[in-house]
Amino acid sequence: MSSRDQILAAVKQHQPEASVLPSLEGLSGNMPGTLEAYRKVLEGLGGSLFEIKDESEIPALLAEHYPHLQRIIRVGDEQRAWINEDPHLLEDVDMAVVPGQWGVAENGAIWLTEAEIPVRVLPFICQHLAIVLPAGRLLPTMHEAYEKIGAPQTGFGVFIAGPSKTADIEQSLVLGAHGAKSLVVFITAG
């Protein structure tokens, strides 16, 4: 008997009587899905937030707050050669500007998928990350987020909440472990 069949047989023999799945109703409580609630949590995670009218304001804001950026990739730009290059070559990207799908006020997380970001490693390998999210896409909790996201459409998706961090050395919080050292969220109108 293969290990597969052996394991499955043992599981079948030993598993307890099946119980029903609980309802997920009422788990969100009265969490607010507001911009203010989102901003507070994001800033607590070490991220920053700018409210803008539209994406045309982004270059000026980046130039102001990140004056030393050399290589910037903006997903959606006409310069798209990077998509077909070896992803290892993204190592020198200083700033990646990527679109988010949904934001979650309770924990600051934003859902991104490879539908919008064709190279999976981009939001991780860049030194700094900017996510653009329309204001109308903020939700209170993870329950609403999974409701909106629904069934998977892509091979990879990720919730990102704040910059990469670690506290492995004596519980001292340090931003910038392996992923982006900072995160800025641009909330666009509408």
Partner: protein, 458 residues
């Protein structure tokens, strides 16, 4: 497998030789526990979330056979290659086989307690394959040639000065620099090189969704993603109990996991791996290694609900003062003490006794595992099966004789109080383990029953 022979009490004694360090360890973990409380209290429906998570896991265990088959089907449809390993050895062989097929001699690994449980690293080394742990804490203990002492905070037992020395020796940082910010930056540079060179990446799995065949991996550092998205081969290793039924259930678990673990609202990255990226190979190794046996132990099967948050360790008065290494198993602390005897009753017979049964672990567990009750039940199983030391068994038998016969109990109490008064040296000596680190209390003049007889109002 290189198992330690010393038991928990002996190893804890060793840890306790350095009292200021024990205090520091204790306080650091309690601080993490306090952060968890603050987060939990900020969510009014917290208890309902715990109940729901526990019920989802119970459903998963009750349908585990079907969910595993469903997960496998979905994963294959997604383009993954699924392997099944009955035990640690088979797991290690499968992983080594994949790496050898691709000619990989050097790879990166993100945190996976399963690979610790299976002792994968020594196995790979013996096969001439170098594995670099990429979680900062795990890299630190790897450089120190130690196992992790905590499942979430692998080097929580290490002082920054010791880490500075390790980095000076291995990464060439200036001697004497122990600044966490500086050391983290040095590790970032060092590990970026590893990520860029690695042809293969191993990750653990936090949750595997039967409905979609996808796996969710949670990190704060981004190391799982840096590894998996750059490598040609991604190997995800998971215990069969990581299965959850549906995607929407992730909402419940992701709300609980990081809040319980470190008091964060969520980890920085919650990555959903479903399909390999074009040109990449994705392998999933499903490991039993005793889990199907634990599933059959009615008293202990709830331990398989564990989501590895570590909250039970942070709150445990014994763990905080004895250190993770004193448990001599991959998963330390209260949860480890109920998982380990299932793997080997003889080797881990000491662990269920490394507890005061105070119940704090059960109170913080996000999936409501009755941890302290299982510790108590394991003790009975282990004594019955003859895996406890002769002294403990004799002591238990004598105690049981005394406690089950009221007359004997009364006489023993009287004798005890008399001995403590007349010959204090009989109890205040090194042979009495209760005398260690504390004075014995003054013996009371009368027993509680005597006091009650005298004072009761009829």
């Amino acid at each position: 497998m290189n198992r330690q022979t010393a038991d928990h009490a002996t190893l804890a004694d060793k840890f306790n030789e350095d009292e200021p360090r024990v205090d520091w360890h204790d306080q650091t973990l309690w601080w993490v526990r306090a952060k968890r409380d603050k987060m939990a209290w900020s969510i009014p429906e917290w208890e309902q979330l715990r109940e729901t998570a526990s019920a989802i896991k119970l459903n998963a265990l009750g349908n585990l056979h079907d969910y595993l088959v469903q997960f496998e089907q979905q994963a294959i449809q997604n383009g993954a290659i699924v392997h099944w390993a009955a035990d640690a050895e088979e797991h290690n062989q499968i992983v080594t086989g994949i790496l050898k097929k691709h000619g990989v001699h050097h790879l990166v690994k993100s945190k996976s307690m399963l690979t610790e449980e299976c002792h994968l690293n020594p196995h790979l080394m013996a096969n001439g394959i170098e594995v670099i742990d990429t979680d900062l804490g795990e890299r630190i203990v790897q450089l120190a040639k130690e196992p992790p002492s905590h499942i979430v905070l692998p080097c929580i037992h290490k002082k920054k000065e010791e880490i500075g020395e390790l980095f000076h020796e291995h990464l060439g940082t200036p001697a004497g620099n122990a600044d966490p910010q500086f050391l983290t930056a040095a590790a970032r540079q060092h590990l970026r090189k590893e990520f860029l060179q690695a042809k293969a990446a191993i990750t653990g799995v936090n949750f595997a969704v039967a409905e979609t065949g996808e796996m969710v991996v949670c990190t704060n550092e981004g190391n799982a993603d840096m590894g998996a998205h750059l490598a040609d081969v991604h190997i995800a290793c998971m215990g069969i109990e990581k299965i959850i039924p549906q995607r929407k259930h992730l909402g419940v678990f992701l709300r609980l996991l990081a809040r319980s673990a470190t008091g964060q609202p969520i980890t920085t990255y919650s990555s959903h791996f479903r399909q390999p990226r074009p040109g990449q190979e994705l392998h999933i190794v499903l490991v039993d290694n005793g889990r199907s046996r634990q599933l059959g132990r009615e008293d202990f099967r709830n331990s398989l609900k564990c989501i590895r948050c570590g909250a039970c360790m942070n709150t445990c008065p014994v763990y905080r003062r004895s250190g993770g290494h004193s448990y001599h198993t991959a998963v330390a602390g209260p949860i480890g003490a109920i998982l380990a005897p299932n793997l080997d009753m003889k080797d881990y017979a000491d662990l269920p006794f490394a507890s005061t049964l105070c119940g704090s672990c059960s109170n913080v567990c996000p999936v409501k595992i009755d941890i302290h009750q299982q510790l108590y039940k394991w003790r009975q199983v282990l004594v019955k099966e003859g895996y406890t030391t002769a002294a403990k068994t004799a002591g238990m038998k004598a105690m049981s004789g005394v406690l089950s016969t009221p007359a004997v109990y009364r006489t023993a109490g009287k004798m005890g109080r008399w001995v403590m008064r007349a010959f204090p040296g009989m109890v205040n000596n090194r042979l009495n383990p209760w005398y260690k680190q504390r004075e014995m209390p003054a013996p009371p003049k009368q027993s509680f029953s005597q006091w009650y007889e005298k004072n009761k109002k009829s």
